[in-house]
Symmetry: C2
Subunit: 358 residues, 2 copies
Amino acid sequence: MYTYPQLFDFTKQVFLKIGSNERDAMLATKVLLSADLRGVDSHGIARLVGYVRLWEAGRINATPKVKTVHETPSTAVVDGDSGLGLVVAPQAMQIAIDKAKNVGTGWVSVKNSNHFGIAGCHAMMALENDMVGIAMTNASPLVAPTFSIERMLGTNPIAVAIPAASEPPFVADFATTTAANGKLEILQRKNQEAPKGWIQDANGNTSYNANELKNGGALLPLGGDRENGSHKGYCLGAIVDIFSAVFSGANYGPWVPPFVSFLPMPEHPVGEGIGHFFGAMRIDAFRPADEFKHHMDTWIKRFRAATPMEGYEKVLIPGDPEREMEAERLKNGWALLPPVVTDLKALAEKLEITESLF
Amino acid sequence: MYTYPQLFDFTKQVFLKIGSNERDAMLATKVLLSADLRGVDSHGIARLVGYVRLWEAGRINATPKVKTVHETPSTAVVDGDSGLGLVVAPQAMQIAIDKAKNVGTGWVSVKNSNHFGIAGCHAMMALENDMVGIAMTNASPLVAPTFSIERMLGTNPIAVAIPAASEPPFVADFATTTAANGKLEILQRKNQEAPKGWIQDANGNTSYNANELKNGGALLPLGGDRENGSHKGYCLGAIVDIFSAVFSGANYGPWVPPFVSFLPMPEHPVGEGIGHFFGAMRIDAFRPADEFKHHMDTWIKRFRAATPMEGYEKVLIPGDPEREMEAERLKNGWALLPPVVTDLKALAEKLEITESLF
């Protein structure tokens, strides 16, 4: 078991070693570990080695100058200057929040960035400002649109955070696929089959093989197949892609650069880096903040009190499981899988981190 | 077969008979029939009788004074004054468009409205202004959240319309459930079973009975079950509900009034009428409009050229099938189902429409 302060200190040292300044290293660490805290282990410290490899491959600028390149009172396009998405994203979200303070809402599309950790972390920045926060990003193409055998979209997540009064906030954060790639990785490690509706093989047939992506298969959009609405998941993934990259000038669709450094970059890029999209809406831009939050409390209480199926304790509010996990892990720490520890140990040696945890 | 001008004339007469002024009758007719034109027969003229019944039940104000009750430069809350959603929605969308002209984007939440036809029709108003349009609405509770046996949400659709240059626009318009209620009605009429993942029975078990809602069953959120991501469909439906109603002061969740006039109104309402949410984003608020539209063309062409599965001609772009249907029906007209014709005949008699088509 490792504690949050222990892992925070180690992770921050790694970002300092690759050249981030103190502020950026703090920010990147906070964002990266928010995934572990919320139980999204696939997007947290397990990916630290991947970020360092991108830096080694010359794809990460450790000292980015994040700047607005186009704007109106309620919008901006931000150039991430090839920085860590973990650092670019919170700065872009802050611009959205500042615009919302002025004119009610703020909407920021980002180009020339890299993977930004979990979307929910950025959306939640809005909460302390009594705003609704929205965050989305495109990602490397692993998903086949309905009727396609070609991988055209990333798992393109959407996060929406909504404040309440006495109830904890509503925080939705989900990939626009049946299952996120991280869930597939868990099955791969356990050598288990994937459920129907998660994956297709290279010819577009249903596959239960959790390793099918290595054989040219693809993840499926939310819905799974046409009969169960996969065209809706495809629409959602497409909207995220367009808002994140066609608005900003980033790469979209099959041109989005891969997260893993060993894969080649797509030829003939249509933009710069990967793209994100952020939104902030002041709740008092719609009605008095107290009134809104009172009704959110009513909404949350009523849904939590919905009659559950037999065998289930209660209906969950989006964000409930992650919040409970965060409280647990902040208190007691958490375990890392042996291959993750091995990776971090090697990383500590390579970067000559003294007094390393690993 | 009936032609568009024939059905337009008849429908407009109906709205005039219930007291709409000339402008509102035109608008309501245009919006209602856009559903038929786009092939969404369940939301078009087949529902005209339902709207009239709501008016007879005193739930529709035929001469609404739609007004803004709260605003900032980029947002507004609109009171629909119990008007037809078909008339309130385009006025609210126009406010979003006007705000976008001023500050880049406009976001309007609506209370005290009624059903607004198809969401796509309103989102598409943005296109001619070189804007991205967004429309959503809540609706009567027919959908059970993940783990719930209680119906808490409507089919809560989301529409997003995005302009391109030489390519036709991208127009997504979908219920946040596996299947819209209209699809279930088709199965009911054909006496066919529903696929797995569409419906659950009163105890939360999988049901194939297209009439299960009459026995206390529920529609399922997009994803179908937990393993296939129904919690994501539940999140989407919840976000639509909150943006449409908690922002505006409309009824939300199980308090949303039913569309059918014979069902009782929910007790202890938490707001006024049903709610909608509209957004408009100027594309040149992000980058020069020509540049954006050029890249949308590239996006659309690349996705349409994705390798299709064997047996499928091509990968579709959202909006393709509906646009083709519209061209077909504008040219050749379309048939109405016998029960719809019977309903319209009775309506013509009751409202004493002279020289009726029916």
